[in-house]
């Protein structure tokens, strides 16, 4: 049996008294996996560990069939890794091209012609080909986000780790992003951390929900939705009491939790499952 691209067993990471990761275990193979969780759930720490920029305290981690604890193997992992941090940072005085060119060298693309072609390729991939020579300080927030995604695509990585990649993208760009990532996921492993359950629903074959450093759910998106079956209600009046309620486009009130008076059961969505799963933390995020 082939070893999975990422294999995590009992991973733990503490920051002082805060337990950011607590006995996390899962494995990843080719395809797109969504990572959902409220703020502080440990998603970013998880991704940082996978990107080899954070070292776990406990547990076993193998990435691309290598041990990131060993310097030589860690370098090999980094050669095959594309990472989009939550806040990637930019050099405002660089042009988009120069920025990618610089990062391409750090990805060991030292041949000038090869690097030029690769930079052009990833710029085109994120629809920034015509902005190649624009200084980054003149790019919009969405363009910068796409540029950050472009750098993660350099050198054709086998493992793509994307931390909230759709933040700041307009609906059109988000659709194009979905198209791009879905194609990328056909022949490599993509781990996508997001707050956007629609992205998970649209893209991911699998979703992992984390909260307080632990994995609460690991399965297909449909399975996450199913966890809320029997807990999602539609009512004509805004119900009194607790739970999460919002008004739909049809004017009816959707409630997750206990049934309001006169309400009828509704088909659950991933978002319903997620909100029901992470409970208070998700409510705090919603608030």
């Amino acid at each position: 049996m082939n070893e999975p691209t990422v294999e995590i067993n009992g991973l733990g990471r503490r920051f002082g008294r805060l337990r950011a990761l607590d006995d996390v275990s899962f494995s990843l193979d080719d395809g797109i996996t969504g990572l959902l969780g409220p703020n502080g759930a440990g998603k970013t720490t998880m991704l940082r560990c996978l990107a080899t920029v954070e070292t776990p305290d406990t547990g076993r981690l193998r990435i691309l069939r290598r041990d990131p604890g060993r310097v030589s193997e860690r370098t090999e992992i980094r050669r095959r890794l594309g990472y989009l941090p939550q806040e990637p940072g930019f050099y405002p005085n660089f042009t988009a091209y120069d920025f990618l060119d610089y990062l391409a060298v750090l990805k060991e693309l030292v041949d000038d012609g090869q690097r030029r072609r690769e930079v052009r390729r990833v710029l085109d991939a994120v629809d920034l080909g015509d902005r190649a020579m624009t200084k980054i300080r003149k790019l919009s927030g969405g363009m910068r986000r796409r540029l950050a995604l472009a750098q993660a695509l350099l050198a054709d990585p086998q493992l793509l780790i994307l931390d909230e990649p759709t933040t700041g993208l307009d609906p059109g760009q988000r659709l194009r992003f979905r198209d791009l990532v879905s194609r990328l996921g056909e022949d490599r492993t993509v781990l996508l951390s997001t707050h956007q359950t629609e992205d998970v629903a649209a893209l991911c074959e699998r979703v992992i929900v984390m909260d307080r450093g632990r994995v609460l759910f690991d399965g297909p998106p449909r399975g996450l939705a199913e966890t809320a079956r029997g807990s999602v209600w539609l009512a004509e009046q805004r119900p009194a009491g607790g739970g999460v309620t919002w008004r739909n486009a049809d004017g009816r009130y959707r409630t997750i939790g206990d049934p309001p008076a006169g309400a009828e059961l509704a088909d659950p969505t991933i978002e319903d499952g997620y909100l029901l799963l992470v409970g208070d933390a998700a409510l705090a995020d919603v608030a």
């Binding site: 920029v53 050669r79 806040e87 050099y91 405002p92 750090l106 690769e118 390729r121």
Partner: protein, 564 residues
Amino acid sequence: MTAATPDTVRPVRRHGGLRAAARVRVLARIEGRRLLARPTVLAGAGLSLLTMVTLTRTTAPVLNRDDTTASAALLVLAAATLLATNAAALRSRRRATDELLASMPTPPRVRTLASLCSVAGVVALAGLLGGAFLLWRLAADPVTAPDPFELLTGPALVALGGCLGVALARWAPSVTVAPVVVVGLAALEFSVNLLIGGSEYGGRVKWLAPFVGQHGVARELLIRPTGWHLAYLVALVAVLGCVALLRHPATRPTIATAGAAVLVLLLAGGAQLRPLDPAQDPNALAAELTAAAAQDCEQRDDVTYCALPGYEPWVDRWAATVEPVLARLPERARPRPLTVRQDFLGTRLESLADHGGPGTAAEPTHSEVRPGLWRGRNAGEGAYQFGLALGVAALAVGLSPDGALSPADALPGQVGEGLQACTPAGQARSVVALWLAGQTSERSAEYLRNEVERQGGTTAPATGTPAPEIYFARPAAHPIGALNFGGWEAAVAVQLLRQAPDHIAGLVDRHWDTLSDPATTTDEALALLGADYPAPGRPPADVRGPGSTEAGSSGTDWRLVACP
């Protein structure tokens, strides 16, 4: 966004060392290009060039001084490079890309090495600036020869600044550190070169500073350990580079390089600090070089021109200034013998005397004019011609500081603290001397006119009062080094310059004995020369006669007496 095309590329897989070297090369090229385009570096380069030009624009090229000037000017670029490399090396921290870069296969050590190597571009720029400056000076009849080590010191200073910027970024990663260090280094250089000052003989510890200037002392009298200092700087560059790299896990080549660099640093630093041989007394050297036997002397008509080794091309320039003065003098009044002998006077020999010998460098004779080691050019040419011509004219009319100066207090021709000077203010012969000097050339006349105007006097009798005293550039320290001319006489001379030179020369010839008599007053000269410039409302100088004491304008105690 579109999907990734299938023809994507994978990084080149090579042997680890080769791959690292290739990355360093490419990154250094990228960083080097960016460094050269940084406004700080561009401004530093521009200011360095401007400094070179400003410091030398009005003087003729003396290459054994210009080489040090070039290095001094490149200190500005070195400071700019320090700031720029520091900012570049801190870029990932300032722009929060550390996390992203940490996920790359290229370790931070490679980036640091590339940052260090990227300084090469600015070093080359410094070399180009120095070279362009040298070419510019070479195109204008230069004298002496540059010291290659001095010339390389400037680029080495730039390399030092660049590597220090990177090292600071690695060990003190804050944007406020580099500007503070630049201010500290500027204070150090200011102390070494301006406050401590003095000659090379005042202590060798100053050579541990990055740059040590010539302090106005003639290069010929200095023993500058330029080769050792360059080796010291290069070793310092290597040490700083290694210090920057040692922020990352140490490698064997880095440790070996650091060890070798420290060894060279200690060796070269120690060699610079070796005390000078007491036999290398600068005053004795000055006397030796000024002696007729050591100089290349050339006889032209009645004048002997003696240049210091390397300065022979200036003889033609001196002759072109001296001859017009002699031509306007009555035959019987021409000083014979007349020698124009180049000297070190005016190059702060007094400070050498403090540290070296008794200060008895070859004293000038009564028939000598002694130009120093600089020559005016462009805007400074008129001043130079006027000053040199004034020396010859002063000898002709019998003006000499001899007897006015106290030999026990000073070297000949020096005016300063504890010294005495004389003034021919109020004497007719000073009008004649000033006119003779002014008529040498149009530039010389223009210089006299400008100085009379600039120093509070006026060339128009009806509109103002001449300055009591007027000061001129003194390229010939002897015999005019200690002569303070009166502003009234200068204004009269300007008036005479408006008349036909032959006419005035005829009057000077006719009344020579009277005009050159120290007892003849300026009023009397006006009548004899047909000038009508009225005497100012107050005396040109408060002179009471030989031996009287006055406080100098600078507040120091020096005596001003009437010239005998």
